[in-house]
Symmetry: C6
Subunit: 77 residues, 6 copies
């Protein structure tokens, strides 16, 4: 697969959260490389409450990693 | 998406818990951007025991991150 | 919501475990604020093996956070 | 509830694993205090593959906490 | 139960992964001590996609613990 | 089983992510050693939304471990 990530460091928590979303999506893309099949399954993710919560959980786990990688974007006052 | 988070640091554990809830909701909003569809699914989240527990779990994972980001709001005695 | 938590620090592991239970319940209360609906769903939590295990899992995640916040109540011998 | 835990520190990894099992069971007991109902549900836990794996997962999360609390029972060589 | 674990320290990441598998299996054995029942359930674990993924998840959580216990088998270059 | 892993250290986050995928797959291979059965189950993983999200979650947990093992590939500026 072509290069899709350079670093876990981001400038802001929001960029970190968006990176967590990318990581969650990549987990799915590696497991199901066919874009056609993924497109067909898309409504199952995004229009089903249980799957939406499960997706949010995968994002939460990746965000835990990304936040730690950025030392929680901590700024001394 | 417009800016919705500036920092993981909060003044109190309760504000940190509420930030964890926001993070859980944002994971869902990014995955399903249509407010109309999310509104339609709302009762599935909040009136189903299994989905409520699953939502509480996503909050728990984010709270783990937020609490670490705040050094557990530790106050030396 | 009114103030319901002051600190993640507790005197004993057992109090910490009970705080983890409170945190798990709060995740559900914030998601479903209606006490009436929650009461209706109560038997689904507590009389269904799958939901009981899932509830125990949310408690486990929060206990991980609370235990870290208390440095595992470590006492040097 | 009466006192059921004094410390997260154990002498050996095996005792730590068994403490993790106790913690997982306590999460269920607090959520469903009736021993009668829990006994009725027991076969659902222990004779259903999905629930057994889920129970093993709750134990895994608690073991992560207990192992950290014991600094992984690390012995310098 | 007889002694089945002495230490979380292993020589290699692969041995650590195999220890994580043992820990996941032990969680199931403690919950369902009857070998006869476990044998009957075996095909449900290993021939069902959902249960296989769930088993792999329990292994992942234990591996997180074992890897930390071994300081990630880190070797300075 | 023959040797399949030497180290958790990788040069880049992307290689680390791909190692996390390998670890998730190995968890399944150890639980179900028969390649024939795994092949039969493959479509269940990769063409079912719920299982795809669950697979992505296992990858997320392993990535958390691998990222920590690499100190998040942190480069001082």
């Amino acid at each position: 697969m072509e290069k899709w990530i350079n670093s876990l460091q981001t400038k802001t928590p929001q960029e970190g959260f968006e990176l967590a979303i990318t990581l969650a999506q990549k987990g799915i893309q590696y497991t199901q490389p066919s874009e056609k099949i993924r497109k067909k399954l898309r409504p199952k993710y995004s229009e089903d409450a249980e799957n939406l919560i499960a997706s949010s959980q995968v994002i939460a786990i990746h965000f835990e990693t990304v936040a730690a990688a950025n030392n929680y974007w901590y700024k001394r006052g």
